[in-house]
């Protein structure tokens, strides 16, 4: 990035910029986001308008919600790969139960599996000390299996996505997507939890040094249980929003977003080993990935080349970003 090109004789300035960027890790991310939007505007002039911005935000929000789950779990050094399943289950169940019940009841029913998955994850990781990667992978397998069985029982009744969710997922009011009504409070809550509550500080503490935290008298399993349940419920809510956006329930609705959600959190500066990161960075990371996807789509490359570029850019950005914020 710009600092690495600084000439030797300008070293003090270069170091000052670097110091500034490592103090405010959000700045380089925002610069990258603006750069991407500028490139997009250059490649296809006139594309960046109010409607495009609303659309981008609309598609970035589900990703940012899932990446929120990853950010929270990564703070403790964990990861939650079952978010895709929790979200898909919520989405599929709300669409099929929407036929029989009114919207609020269907939504409550749809969140039950997410709660169960989160509880199982929390017990496995917190009490039995199973590696989070394995535990969430296992519960995700079980969840998908249950959903397949469930699908057979409702195959005849058809599906109906509640009007409210469609309004929330796709609607735009005065240039602002309605999904912001859900996202802004959720994001504010997550940030509040991370920065201002004892629970949030415990997350950072566990990620930083789990042993020390336990020796200090923290009930490790309680924190982990609460964390994974929170993550899973958040994923369930994302599923409800996402079905409103996509409108077609399927058994692999949110799965393609799982790996990008990890990427978004990592690009946003959350360390996968725990102890460092913040949700603000993750939100910008999700925006960057969404703009990047648009950019690669309008380049009209074959699908294969697009995926290769996506992978390469994610790796490049992460490596560059780690250099910036770590070399003090």
């Amino acid at each position: 990035m710009s600092i690495s090109t600084a000439l030797p004789e300008q070293a003090p300035l270069g170091r000052r910029i670097k110091r500034f960027m490592s103090d405010y890790p959000l700045v380089p991310l925002l610069i990258l986001l603006v750069l991407l939007v500028l490139v997009l505007q250059m490649l296809s002039p006139g594309i960046v308008n109010q409607r495009w911005i609303a659309n981008t935000i609309k598609f970035a929000i589900p990703l940012a919600l899932l990446a929120g789950c990853q950010t929270m779990t990564m703070l403790t050094g964990g990861i939650d790969l079952s978010v895709g399943t929790a979200a898909t289950m919520a989405a599929f169940i709300v669409a099929t139960q929407g036929v029989m019940y009114d919207a609020p009841t269907a939504m409550m029913i749809a969140l039950i599996p997410a709660v169960i998955i989160g509880f199982a994850n929390g017990i496995g990781v917190g009490v039995f000390r199973v590696h989070p990667l394995i535990m969430t992978l296992g519960t995700s397998l079980i969840g998908i299996g249950c959903l397949q069985v469930y699908q057979r029982t409702v195959i005849a009744s058809g599906a109906k996505v509640p009007e409210f969710l469609i309004w929330l997922g796709t609607g735009v009011t005065g240039g602002f997507p309605n999904a912001l009504l859900l996202f802004v409070p959720v994001a504010a809550l997550l940030l509040f939890i991370q920065k201002r509550t004892g629970f949030g500080r415990l997350l950072y503490a566990i990620g930083d040094n789990e042993r020390a935290t336990r020796l200090a008298g923290v009930k490790y399993w309680q924190v982990i249980l609460a964390l994974y349940m929170l993550s899973s419920i958040l994923a369930g809510i994302m599923g409800l929003l996402y079905i409103g956006l996509i409108k077609a329930p399927s058994l692999s609705l949110a799965e393609p977003l799982v790996l990008p959600s990890v990427a978004a959190a990592v690009i946003g500066g959350t360390s996968i080993f725990g102890g460092r990161g913040s949700y603000t960075g993750t939100i910008v990371g999700a925006l960057i990935l969404t703009v990047l996807t648009t950019l690669l789509t309008i380049l009209q490359m074959p699908e294969g080349a697009r995926r290769m570029l996506f992978g390469a850019i994610v790796l490049l950005v992460t490596a560059a970003y780690l250099r910036i914020i770590e070399d003090r």
């Binding site: 990861i79 199982a120 496995g124 039995f128 000390r129 199973v130 590696h131 990667l133 394995i134 535990m135 992978l137 296992g138 519960t139 995700s140 397998l141 079980i142 969840g143 998908i144 299996g145 249950c146 397949q148 069985v149 057979r152 790996l259 990890v262 990427a263 990592v266 996968i272 080993f273 074959p302 699908e303 294969g304 080349a305 697009r306 995926r307 290769m308 570029l309 996506f310 992978g311 390469a312 994610v314 790796l315 992460t318 490596a319 780690l322 250099r323």
Partner: protein
Amino acid sequence: MMRLLRQQGWVVGLLALFVVLLITAKLIQPSYGAGDFGSLVRAVLPYAFAVAAQTVVVIAGGIDLSVAAMMALTSVTAAALMAGASEEFALLVVPFVLLMGFALGALNGALIVFSRVPDIVVTLATLFMLQGAALLVLNAPGGGSAEWLRNLIVGTVPIPVLPDAVTPWFPKALLLLVVLLCAVWIPLKRSRLGLSIYAIGSNQLAAFRSGVPVARTKILAYAFGGLFGAMGGLSLTMSTGIGAPIPGPYLMASVAAVVLGGVVLGGGKGGLLGPIIAVFVLRLARTILTLLAIDPNVTAIVEGTILVAVVMFGAFIAMRSRAR
């Protein structure tokens, strides 16, 4: 003997579980015999190589999320090269694809070492790249496979000293699997490099201070993972006769079998035998559920439950032994 049992307790337990499952299969379906065992081995083949790839990397303290994409890329490359080509040409294709897997694996390792980005993120990125490359090679399932390559895994191996009744229980696919895995794994494990791989997985800092070339070892561990991945890709082409650019369910299965096989995520412990038996157990469990005429969708639930239960059990034992 007792020492061996203690050291290999987990593997012996898995083997016993496998035998119990085999007997169960026989009880449920009296006609379950050598032919079914042969098809089980053929079905296991790509999984086994994926598991081997994951095992090497996990022992070195890493994790490879790109293993399924690596198999897809090597499989389509082999299928595209062999389509319409002569039988002899395939003799060149096989080493080329294996070399490609080795090189791409080494690239994975080099990216991890030089970018200083965590393994899980780098291999996540290479997952997208390899998947994209596979789509560029073939954008729909297609290609072909040489006849002799396909015949490698069909049929059984006649063993002269044993009676005819035993012969059908030795499918060629099993022989191929054992020979290939042993040919790579045994020399690797006995070499200085193998020791270094265990060392960096166990404690990277201690290994570095004892003079182990950490960067080189890590790159080579990923390269061997890539080599096993390429074998898995070739076995896919062998068994289907074509190459498909969309990765199969091998990533999840490989991680599951590695953990079931007693290799600790985080590195430094375990061997290759455990995970390979574990993958047989998982596949056989699936066959039994099919024999029981259980809804195939329930199979996924059972598999997930087995995975979670066994891992919890293992973690519980580890906790007990720590407490003592």
